[in-house]
């Protein structure tokens, strides 16, 4: 018995629909079709009237979710690709994110974004948007990297009274498997140390976690013990765990799949440099994709983004400093 990352997401939605009559799912092709990635397969049949097909109107999709949330519902929106959330950006950052602050009425919506690159997907089906949304006050941004987290964090996202941007990584959908669904979960907002180490800390999130772990394996063969921290949630970010890890190792490498200007890796480095300067034995390092739109061709694509090899190289470089 094994369950994929995508199946875990479906199971979580099924449970949410079953447990809470206020939950409904809204998005393009999510109904009878079961969603572009089959994340809502059979849910329309199991829960008639609660899985609605939307027109191609991301602005109106998010707006409607907000209106429903104001009136007591707990909608889950599926954006077909994270890249397509931009037509709905205004509603997300200006309406949903400001509603509670302005009016004291909470906005308990969950927006699922199939994020990240897969080979051949090209510039508009590969983006990682977490940094843009994390920038705006009033949003929670989750980036689960494991099957278990995909399940438990989605359930928690629905339960949270604030807008949650749930960044699922497409590369993990069908290939990441776990033996079973979890029975307990780490609280949202806590990072997990996937691999304890001593010589260097790699902070990663989403699919990059697995590249970081592969790099750590390889470097273990060279005698370096790398500690790998999975952020799990970008906002709020578990600075304490990061700081404690850097306190142990003195060296920080932050890895992210998004573009290099600003973003999660810059935020991590800024926090460690500001609050943990005296913990650093070497300058903190970042590794991101290139400052270029995401290319289509698989060879270009592999050169554009961090890989286990480039993470290894960056770590080796940092170890030598």
């Amino acid at each position: 018995m094994s369950i994929t990352y995508l199946e875990a997401i479906r199971e979580a939605q099924a449970k949410a629909l079953a447990d809470d009559p206020r939950v409904f799912i809204y998005g393009q092709d999510v109904g009878a079709f079961g969603g572009a990635f089959k994340a809502t397969k059979n849910l329309a049949k199991e829960f008639p009237g609660r899985v609605l097909d939307a027109p191609i109107s991301e602005d109106a999709i998010v707006g409607a979710a907000i209106g429903a949330a104001i009136n007591g519902m707990r909608p889950i929106i599926e954006m077909q690709f994270a890249d397509f959330s931009t037509p709905g950006f205004n509603q997300i950052v200006n309406q949903a994110a400001t509603l509670y602050w302005r009016t004291q009425v909470p906005c308990p919506i969950t927006i699922r974004l199939p994020s990240g690159g897969t080979s051949g997907a090209g510039p508009f089906h590969s983006q990682s948007m977490e940094s843009l949304y994390a920038h705006y006050p009033g949003l929670i941004v989750m980036t689960p990297a494991t099957v278990e987290d995909a399940y438990s964090m989605l359930l928690e996202a629905v339960a949270i009274d604030d807008p949650v941007i749930f960044c699922e990584h497409k590369r993990l959908y069908y290939h990441l498997k776990a033996p079973a669904l979890p029975t307990e979960a780490m609280p949202v907002g806590k990072a997990r140390i996937h691999r304890p180490g001593r010589d260097l800390t790699i902070v990663a999130y989403s699919a990059m976690l697995h590249d970081a772990l592969a790099a750590a394996e390889e470097l273990a063969g060279e005698g370096a013990e790398i500690e790998v921290v999975d952020l799990r949630t970008i906002k709020p970010m578990d600075t304490d765990t990061i700081m404690a890890s850097v306190a142990r190792t003195g060296r920080l490498l932050c890895v992210g799949e998004s573009f290099p200007w600003g973003g999660v890796t810059a935020e991590v480095v800024a926090r460690v440099a500001t609050e943990g300067f005296a913990l650093l034995d070497a300058p903190p390092q970042r590794l991101n994709a290139k400052d270029t739109p995401i290319p289509y061709h698989p060879k270009l694509w592999l050169g554009h983004r961090p890989t286990a090899e480039s993470v290894c190289a960056a770590a080796r470089h940092l170890l030598q400093m």
């Binding site: 206020r22 939307a54 109106a60 209106g67 429903a68 104001i70 009136n71 205004n90 602050w101």
Partner: protein, 323 residues
């Protein structure tokens, strides 16, 4: 309407006296249309007023104090200083607080109506107001389309006051009449004379009744002229004087008063008394609010999340104004 006009005039006066921070946006000329919407709605309905819907808000039940407090930045207002002027509302009571991006509120009303449907609440409608300029936005299109596809009881009231800021309608849309757009969404629109209170009341009431009865989304397009600047900072010198002279340029308040007098439903004295009563109410509200405290950044809970345990503190604790 009178109350709304008196309130608007007072806010304009305070603005010119430098007592209001930020912009002041009035609904002069639009009172007839706006008040008709507010009067047709009842408790449980959802209302998304826009910039010039002061009259509609009052008719819907918004206290005068809410408007005055929000304009004057009182910590006791519904927005508590966190947002200002016309961006006010009480979403928990069905009165949505607009954001500046035009058209964005339509889909929010749709969502509220979806919630009613899920919750099996029948006989309720949602009303969204928008101007001629707002009909050009993508959000308008998406919202109207969504309401039509879902057959929601949305009443969309378009106040074509001929200008969006300084932009005349010939630079805003190419069709002859905004009502023509309705066909594109599978609807037919009603037309109303925005200067005539009776016409507005009749048309709006019919539209709301249709929606309440399950007739799907309704669109009303009213024609009038904006009788003020886009905001009080704008002198509106670009408004075509011919429009001002035309029947379109009539002040709906004057038209209504004249009608009352002609029909014998009220005499000049009564009308004057109404104005004075309104003035007293507004003055009292202003006097009260002027004594109220402004928000204090040091006492402010700078938390944008309902889930406080998930909020982060970014500032240097030594310099922070965080409580």
């Amino acid at each position: 309407m009178v109350l709304s006009r008196v309130l608007d005039d007072k806010m304009a006066g305070l603005y010119r006296a430098g007592k209001i921070h930020g912009g002041v946006f009035l609904g002069r000329g639009q009172e007839a249309l706006s008040v008709s919407v507010g009067l047709a709605l009842r408790e449980g309905d959802v209302f998304a007023p826009l910039i010039r819907d002061g009259a509609g808000r009052l008719a819907f039940g918004e206290p005068v104090l809410d408007a005055v407090r929000t304009f004057l930045g009182s910590a006791l207002g519904p927005m508590r200083g966190r947002d200002g002027n016309v961006h006010r509302g009480r979403p928990g009571e069905g009165l949505l607080a607009m954001i500046s991006h035009l058209g964005a509120m339509i889909s929010v009303v749709n969502g509220a109506l979806l919630a009613h449907r899920f919750q099996n609440l029948k006989g309720l409608v949602g009303a969204a107001c928008i101007g001629d300029g707002g009909t050009s936005t993508g959000a308008f299109h998406e919202g109207l389309n969504q309401a039509a596809v879902e057959r929601l009881p949305l009443v969309l009231v378009v106040a074509n006051n001929q200008y969006a800021y300084s932009t005349p309608t010939r630079r805003q849309f190419a069709c002859d009449d905004l009502a023509d757009k309705a066909a594109g969404y599978g609807l037919s629109a009603r037309r109303a004379d925005g200067t005539d209170l009776e016409d507005c009341l009749r048309v709006i009431a019919a539209a709301v009744a249709d929606a309440r009865a399950g007739g799907g989304p309704q669109m009303v397009v009213a024609r009038l002229l904006r009788l003020c600047g886009h905001g009080e900072h704008d002198d509106a010198h670009y408004i075509d004087p011919q429009l001002k002279q035309s029947p379109l340029g009539r002040d709906c308040l004057a038209v209504a008063e004249e009608r009352l007098l002609r029909e014998g439903w009220a005499d000049a004295e009564a009308i004057r008394a109404l104005r004075q009563k309104a003035a007293r109410e507004v003055d009292k509200a202003v006097a009260t609010v002027q004594r109220e405290p402004a928000p204090d950044p040091y006492k402010e809970n700078w938390c944008a999340l309902a889930s406080r345990h998930l909020s982060e503190m970014f500032e240097n604790p030594a310099l922070s104004t965080h409580s």
